[in-house]
């Protein structure tokens, strides 16, 4: 081991993202820095993460600075890994456990504790973990640790988990898992209706993959046993997910079916508290919209895609989600996409998305959108030109309106790039109706952005103008993004 250590070399990699926002209206500022440093020395690995969020004062209960320091230490030879510190882990497709880092959506759901991974032949991997979760989410233009206190109803309870996956035959893969969430809060500390979902929950299940030539079928089932509000018995939840893919030549067809019933904790709505879950099961909706993420959802999705000729790609999607125990809620989405490259200089992409949402957003009984989108890219020597435009036909009903709102949302962006280093974009978002309930009654949001690749490892992005904001979803998690008007500067450095 000493000989191996002397032959090893130290590697250091990392990324730093710094952001500065200045709000035009009241000169409020937002300063943010996220540093991730990774060290490797032979079989030893280390990580250091610093996260700094500094809104300008005055601070209030909803807007507080956030200063976090995380570390990871791991011993990771070929056949095993022992890790202590911060990590992310998903079991299967997320029906039992999913934690993740989403930089685009600014959602960081991490585990902090101990993890052991053992690797055996036949792609066999055993994961054992014991940790606590931290959920950092960015919404309403501020970062919050969602499980910092009981008001926000996520939890810092302990998670224990085990996951075993293997491929005993080349055509067959199997997996099994167990997750237990232990309450750490004293039951007498809070009123009974609030504390009972947290007493302890167990999720266990398995999956199987069968591959035969162009066909692959996957199935996963997960059962949850929680605590019942009544004496004796356990509250039960059940979820399953099925997918099948057929790929022939340049074409593929994918079908998905899912049914989730109380995989998440039951929906205890009390004094603003929300459902709590460590699970994040698949959704068939491309736009990321979900109903209640594993508590009461049933749906299916179909995707057909292909490359009839080399420069042409086509794709069609259909997705549907309903809440079997609350038929007033549901999402239906269908989308078609075509992408064509004309030589090496032109690229065209056209997309059409139709979506119907019922009782997904708060105070919105139904919302129907039809959105065509066009992208065009053109290259002329050192010069790059791009156009992106979409036009959204929206019909919205709160349920108490004599006639639904019908309006149109437009977004257009024109970009010019020179060489490798520079890109300029002028954009404009517009809505043709003054909506008091959305966008603070504003209707026009112009913006100018420049991206400068200072070196191949450093990128500076400066954006001046306004952003519409609105209801935004990613992977089933949605938030209301507040409109923005001011300056945003972002520096990303990779080293």
């Amino acid at each position: 081991m000493a000989a191996a250590a002397s032959a090893a070399e130290l590697s250091i990699q990392g990324t730093n993202r710094s952001e500065f926002w200045l709000y035009k209206a009241d000169w409020v500022t937002h300063l943010e820095d996220k540093l991730d440093l990774n060290l490797g020395y032979g079989d030893l690995r280390g990580g250091l993460g610093a996260f700094l969020y500094e809104p300008s004062k005055p601070w209030n209960a909803d807007q507080q600075p956030l200063r976090l320091l995380d570390y990871t230490i791991a011993y990771s030879p070929k056949m095993l890994e022992v890790l202590y510190g911060k990590f992310f882990q998903t079991f299967g497709k997320g029906l039992a456990l999913r934690t993740y880092s989403d930089d685009d959506f600014r959602h960081y759901k991490s585990l902090n504790g101990l993890r052991f991974i053992g690797r055996l032949p036949r792609q066999t991997e055993l994961v054992l973990l014991g940790a606590r979760m931290r959920d950092i989410f960015f919404q309403e233009n501020t970062y919050k640790v969602m499980n910092a206190d009981s008001v926000h109803a996520d939890t810092t309870d302990q998670v224990l988990g085990a996951n075993l996956e293997s491929r005993p035959l080349s055509l067959i893969g199997v997996g099994g898992r167990y997750v237990r969430i232990n309450r750490t809060q004293d039951m007498e500390q809070y009123p009974y209706p609030d504390s009972w979902p947290k007493i302890f929950n167990e999720l266990y299940g398995g999956d199987m993959t069968v591959t035969a030539g162009p066909v692959e079928v996957y199935g996963e089932v997960c059962q949850r046993l929680g605590d019942s509000a009544f004496v004796g018995g356990r509250e039960k939840g059940l979820g399953y997910y099925l997918s099948g893919t057929v790929a022939v030549g340049n074409y593929s067809l994918l079908g998905q079916y899912m049914s989730y019933d109380k995989l998440g904790f039951p929906d205890v709505v009390l004094a603003g508290r929300k459902t709590y879950r460590y699970t994040d099961p698949p959704t068939p909706i491309l736009s990321g919209v979900a109903i209640n993420r594993g508590v009461d959802e049933r749906g299916f999705g179909v995707t057909a895609s292909g490359t009839p000729t080399a420069p042409l790609y086509v794709e069609a999607n259909l997705g549907s989600l309903v809440a079997p125990h609350d038929t007033s809620k549901g999402v239906l989405e269908d989308e078609g996409k075509v992408r064509y490259s004309l030589g090496t200089d032109w690229t065209f992409e056209a997309k059409f998305n139709h979506m119907v949402q019922k009782n997904i957003e708060l105070h919105v009984a139904s919302r129907t959108t039809d959105m065509p989108t066009v992208h065009v890219n053109y290259l002329l020597g050192q010069h790059t030109f791009a156009l992106e435009a979409d036009y959204d036909f929206v019909a919205e009903d709160t349920g108490s309106m004599p006639t639904p709102w019908q309006y149109h949302e437009t977004a257009i962006a024109v970009s010019y790039g020179y060489g490798e280093a520079l890109l300029f974009t002028v954009g404009w978002q517009y809505v043709d109706m003054k909506l008091d309930r959305r966008y603070n009654g504003e209707t026009s949001w112009p913006v100018f952005e420049t991206v400068w690749s200072i070196t191949d490892r450093n990128m500076l992005r400066v954006r001046v103008g306004a952003e519409r904001g609105g209801y935004t979803c990613s992977g089933g998690v949605c938030r209301e993004e507040a409109p923005f008007n001011g300056i945003k500067a972002q520096l990303i450095s990779t080293f």
Partner: protein, 186 residues
């Protein structure tokens, strides 16, 4: 007690960084990894580097620019694969989207090594936070070029970087040395 432990760990890491800085070479070493590709086969970075340099691009299904870059690199790859170039399309989509990723890759007919980083271990190890981010790793395991973002035309500059790290083309009989790459940058 927790504060003292945190401070101590920070000092240990800082010492490690300073020590590394003193002996830091020009290029960063790429962390080795083992992942499964879309066909279910295990692939290690070390085994690929034994064949030739590797260009690894991080992408996911919603990233339009990532897919555009991988599409644009196809003719570049076709012209250089015989010289040992390998391209990894590293999918960082979540596990729930694995079936969609496989269907998409199969219908795209990308000639690349398409790996699934569903646990985002490689994404985290390489500190990738923006997509696309791509690394060119030479056969010594050093990251010799980083490309962040993509706009049309970047593939020409990326190809120029590839040519710096690939072995020269075999000489044709009667050809003088130094003539093989002339006029081949488009």
């Amino acid at each position: 007690m927790k504060s003292i432990l945190n401070i101590g760990l920070v000092l240990v890491f800082a010492a490690g960084v300073l020590a590394a800085a003193e002996e830091q070479k020009e290029y960063t070493l790429a962390q080795s990894f083992t992942l499964t590709d879309v066909k279910g086969v295990e692939v290690t970075l070390d085994s690929l580097l034994a064949v030739g340099p590797v260009y690894m691009e991080c992408w996911d299904l919603p990233c339009v620019n990532c897919i555009a870059e991988l599409d644009a690199l196809m003719p570049v790859y076709d012209s250089l694969k015989e010289r040992g170039l390998q391209i990894i399309a590293l999918s960082v989509d979540k596990p729930a989207d694995e079936a969609r990723v496989k269907a998409f890759v199969k219908s795209k007919k990308w000639p690349y090594i398409c790996l699934l980083d569903t646990q985002n271990e490689v994404k985290k190890a390489y500190g990738i936070i923006i997509k696309p981010t791509a690394y060119l790793i030479n056969q010594k395991g050093e990251i010799v070029y980083t490309h962040i973002g993509y706009k049309k035309g970047d593939e020409k500059r990326i190809k120029a970087e590839f040519l710096k790290w690939l072995p020269a083309e075999p000489e044709e009989p009667g050809e003088k040395p130094g003539e093989e790459n002339s006029g081949d940058d488009n």
